[in-house]
């Protein structure tokens, strides 16, 4: 048995804390929260009226001139992925067909693209005139829809909302002709897209990959779904304190939108071009929670335990070599406790000394994007030798022993762990290594 790692040489993100990674990192270090009142629709009638939203931007500013027309086919999820991927290439110092002018530095047929995506709901106002034309006595009439409504839907409507379009647009813009995949595993999509892209490089199917995930939960249907599943914090009067992962006073999750992407390449390639290596990806672990109620992680977090154990085994390290954990930590008390138990079981007594940085208190639960965001945050922390302070944590509930990092720490991070889970059960864990170790 030999081992291999893949270098992370580029980071990209767009999040409630900024349009790029430096802005997000600075805001996290300043203890800011990107959570505020919902702006993209009027949440009257919703219990939860807050979310983590991306600021104003124009997508045309983030795509090559001749691709501007194609932005009509992009929903927000796709736009975010496009923005994050562009930054990932630029941050790695690579020139592609889709970045700035100059000699192209990538080999298109040997470059993979892998983007995680969520269940994308369509724009309701865009659909509304067609629906309004299909009512009989105030009720939706499917026969009328066929005659009157359907023809009003724009011809390419479907293409705006297919989850694989995140990867397809990124691939077209940057001319990436290698392997391409779209992981649709809810909140672990980002972890898995990055993990699988790294596997592609190790097994020789590609030399380089841009990998990550994007999702916007800022759609009334999606937000209503979360509300019905009783996951939302309703602390509407204090949005910045509303999401409290692992805190005794936790009262639910806050949902949001983001994308993040990393540029992965062979370590020897990164070294030979003297690229900055933010971190190396050295371990992957996965499992599934077997809870017949589906809505929550199994109470002992066993699937998290298995994923973390496997990731550490894959990385060939022991728990005491970890200097940072970014858990899923949603702010839903029952799930946080189960996750804490799962992590504690995997790491044993070492867990008490490992700083834990939950990010959703600041960035919200951005669905498919959140795992990719966490990998970017961990890579930044590793390269800056800094663990920012967590916010919205005062004291543990019984049973949770995670060492939530409440004060900024300046220290070398040897290894970092990012983990997550989904309501459908899938769990994932990734171990990053500091290139100086």
């Amino acid at each position: 048995m030999s081992s291999a790692s893949v270098a992370i040489t580029g980071l990209g993100s767009v999040s409630p804390l900024g349009m790029d990674t430096p802005a997000m990192w600075q805001a996290i270090c300043a203890g800011q929260s990107g959570i505020g009142p919902i702006r993209s629709f009027d949440p009257v009638g919703f219990d939860c009226k807050i979310a983590g939203q991306v600021g104003d931007y124009k997508i045309r500013d983030f795509v090559p001139k001749k691709y501007r027309k194609a932005t009509k086919l992009m929903c927000r999820d796709i736009e975010f992925a496009v923005i994050a991927a562009k930054e990932a290439f630029a941050s790695a110092g690579h020139t592609t067909k889709g970045t700035d002018d100059g000699d192209i530095t990538i080999n298109p047929v040997r470059t993979a693209v892998e983007m995680g995506a969520g269940l994308i709901s369509c724009d309701l106002e865009e659909m509304a005139p067609a629906v309004a034309a299909s009512l009989t006595d105030g009720k939706f009439d499917i026969r009328k829809w066929g005659h009157e409504g359907l023809p009003q839907v724009t011809p390419l409507w479907l293409l705006k909302y297919l989850p694989n379009m995140l990867a397809c647009h990124v691939g077209i813009i940057h001319d990436l002709q290698g392997p391409s995949n779209t992981i649709t595993c809810a909140e672990v999509s980002g972890h898995l897209a990055i993990a699988e892209a790294a596997e592609m490089i190790i097994r020789g199917d590609s030399d380089m990959a841009v990998a990550g995930a994007g999702e916007s939960k800022l759609n009334p249907v999606v937000m209503a779904r979360q509300s019905l599943l009783q996951r939302c914090s309703v602390r509407n009067d204090s949005p910045e304190q509303a999401c409290r992962p692992f805190d005794a006073d936790a009262c639910g999750a806050v949902f949001g939108e983001a994308a993040a992407a990393v540029l992965l390449e062979k370590v020897e390639d990164a070294k030979s071009r003297q690229a900055k290596i933010f971190a190396e990806l050295v371990g992957i672990g996965q499992s599934t929670s077997l809870d017949p109620r589906y809505k929550h992680l199994e109470p002992d977090g066993k699937a998290v335990t298995i994923a973390v154990e496997r990731a550490l085994d894959d990385a060939e390290i022991t728990p005491d070599e970890l200097d940072l954990i970014i858990p899923h930590g949603t702010g839903v008390a029952q799930d946080d406790l189960a996750e804490a138990k799962g992590i504690q079981a995997a790491l044993g007594s070492a867990v008490k000394d490992i700083p834990v940085l939950p990010t959703k208190s600041m960035l919200s639960n951005t669905g498919a994007a959140c795992g990719a965001i966490d990998v970017v945050v961990a890579a930044m922390a590793m390269s800056e030798n800094k663990i920012p302070a967590a916010i919205n944590f005062e004291k543990h509930p019984a049973g949770c022993e995670l060492n939530i990092n409440t004060r900024e720490v300046d220290a070398e991070i040897r290894y970092a762990l990012c983990c997550g889970y989904t309501p459908g059960g899938q769990t994932a864990a990734i171990v990053l290594k500091n290139p100086t170790v």
């Binding site: 081992s3 291999a4 893949v6 949440p43 009638g45 919703f46 194609a70 969520g118 369509c122 309701l124 106002e125 509304a128 629906v131 309004a132 299909s134 939706f140 499917i142 026969r143 829809w145 066929g146 359907l150 839907v153 724009t154 390419l156 409507w157 479907l158 293409l159 989850p163 694989n164 379009m165 990867a167 397809c168 691939g171 077209i172 002709q177 392997p179 391409s180 995949n181 779209t182 649709t184 595993c185 699988e196 596997e199 097994r203 009334p220 249907v221 209503a224 779904r225 019905l228 499992s287 599934t288 077997l290 589906y294 298995i306 894959d314 990385a315 989904t422 459908g424 059960g425 899938q426």
Partner: protein, 440 residues
């Protein structure tokens, strides 16, 4: 990441199908060989005024009699239901125990993974359309969000909403089988389940799991799905003759016929299969994935991505085009796909292109979207087993520009040692898997 020095060979030890031609492999296979059609008038919803009024539906299906605890899966979406049944069939063949806490089948649950190409469930149409309809003020072109929320919260159901997510079928299969190993779900449009099988085979080859329940499941036969495809003018409009509408490679092809279903393939390391004494149905020897990186709306004119995926799969298998006996095509019956797919095969196969047999099972069971790749892979496994390949039905007016051997209109007896399965997704994601008769 750990790398195993000796890559594992990957074999197929179980297959299961729920599709418009039958709710198990044998019925479907007999239907394919007899040239039957699974296409008919749409019954799932009233599509009588849609541009397309027919599709290929799964019929008379109920997974509940197959299970001790069907209530755990009853709230799942339509695709989840299909996947549960197909998984039970595939696991039974592979000797994998389901619905037990103490399996005695010799498979470590932490080494049992899941990798599906699975689609989303349908929206709650009643809530979706009526909330918009009641809340939209057409005169002022604005939404009354209060009204919208009122109708939505009244009609939406929490479990239906949760079960819509594309990762839910994989969650149900985990609960059904106790699988605790690597669990992934991908959705690369029409290539999804072929990709899932290819990626799952990679995980086994690399020693990350011993057994993976792979394949896919999907149903887009719902008002928004049909609306979307109709607006793209991707579907056949041959409403007066549904059963002849899916006519891949013919001059009069006018679009695909949408189907639905689930195809499950049990992939296993050769070591594990031999240790358990499982019957080996075939071996997965090659996989290639690529992007067109061309246009969202069209395939690359020269089939660049398809060519690269085919070449990668051949190289991965360590064989040449001449070793391929049969190609299960993507063959959707759209004008664009069938032309470009033919061109791609010619580009890679050269002179030999005219000698290889190609066919499209979609001419009979329709296009199962995310599930279609794995369903067609099962066709390859059965073709190898029975030395017969299904024909391409409804090919009565060949397109003069498409001059390969598409096995027109009837199944053909022929020895198949190596079969290649092609899937090309909307947006340009391409996946090719090569399967071979198992030899020691």
């Amino acid at each position: 990441m750990k790398i195993n020095e000796k890559p594992q060979r990957v074999v197929v030890t179980g297959i299961g199908l729920v599709c418009p031609l039958g709710n198990d492999v044998q019925t479907t296979w007999q239907g394919l060989l007899a040239g039957k059609s699974g296409v008919d008038k749409m019954t799932i919803f009233d599509a009588s005024t849609f541009p397309t009024t027919f599709c290929a539906e799964v019929k008379d299906y109920d997974f509940r009699p197959l299970l001790k605890n069907p209530q755990l899966h009853e709230h799942g979406n339509r695709g989840t239901g299909f996947a549960v049944g197909a998984t039970v069939e595939a696991c039974r063949q592979a000797g994998i125990e389901v619905e037990t806490d103490n399996p005695a089948d010799g498979i470590d649950r932490r080494r049992l993974g899941i990798y599906l190409g699975a689609g989303e469930g349908s929206a709650n149409d009643d809530a979706f359309f009526n909330a918009i309809g009641q809340a939209w003020d057409d005169e002022n072109r604005q939404m009354d969000w209060k009204k919208w929320a009122q109708v939505s919260f009244e009609r939406m159901r929490a479990m239906h909403e949760m079960e819509q997510e594309a990762n839910m079928p994989a969650g149900h299969i985990a609960l059904l089988t106790g699988a605790r190993g690597p669990a992934r779900s991908c959705l690369t449009a029409c290539a999804a389940s072929n990709q899932a099988v290819g990626e799952a085979a990679r995980l086994i080859r690399a020693g990350k799991a011993d057994v993976i329940i792979s394949g896919g499941t999907h149903s887009m036969i719902h008002p928004l799905g049909i609306t979307g495809f109709n607006r793209l003018t991707a579907l056949s409009n041959r409403n007066d003759s549904p059963q002849t509408a899916s006519r891949p490679f013919s001059a009069s092809r006018d679009g695909f016929v949408i189907g639905e279903g689930s195809a499950i393939v049990i992939l296993e390391s050769l070591d594990s299969a031999q240790k358990r004494g499982a019957k080996i149905l075939a071996e997965i020897i090659g996989y290639g994935s690529s992007s067109d990186a061309f246009r969202i709306t069209d395939m690359h004119e020269q089939g660049r991505g398809a060519v690269q995926a085919i070449r990668s799969a051949l190289a991965d298998a360590g064989i040449t085009a001449r070793d391929i006996d049969y190609i299960s095509t993507h063959g959707t019956s759209t004008p664009e796909n069938d032309s470009i797919e033919t061109l791609a095969v010619k580009t890679v196969f050269g002179e030999y292109a005219k000698k290889v047999a190609l066919s499209s099972p979609k001419s009979m069971f329709g296009h199962l979207i995310g599930a279609t790749g794995a369903a067609e892979l099962i066709t390859c496994v059965m073709a190898i087993r029975d030395s017969i390949v299904p024909g391409t039905m409804n090919l009565n007016d060949p397109d003069p520009a498409l001059d390969l051997d598409y096995v027109p209109n009837a199944a053909r007896k022929m020895k198949v040692d190596v079969a290649m399965n092609e899937s090309f997704g909307f947006g340009g994601q391409n996946d090719v898997v090569i399967v071979r008769r198992y030899q020691q």
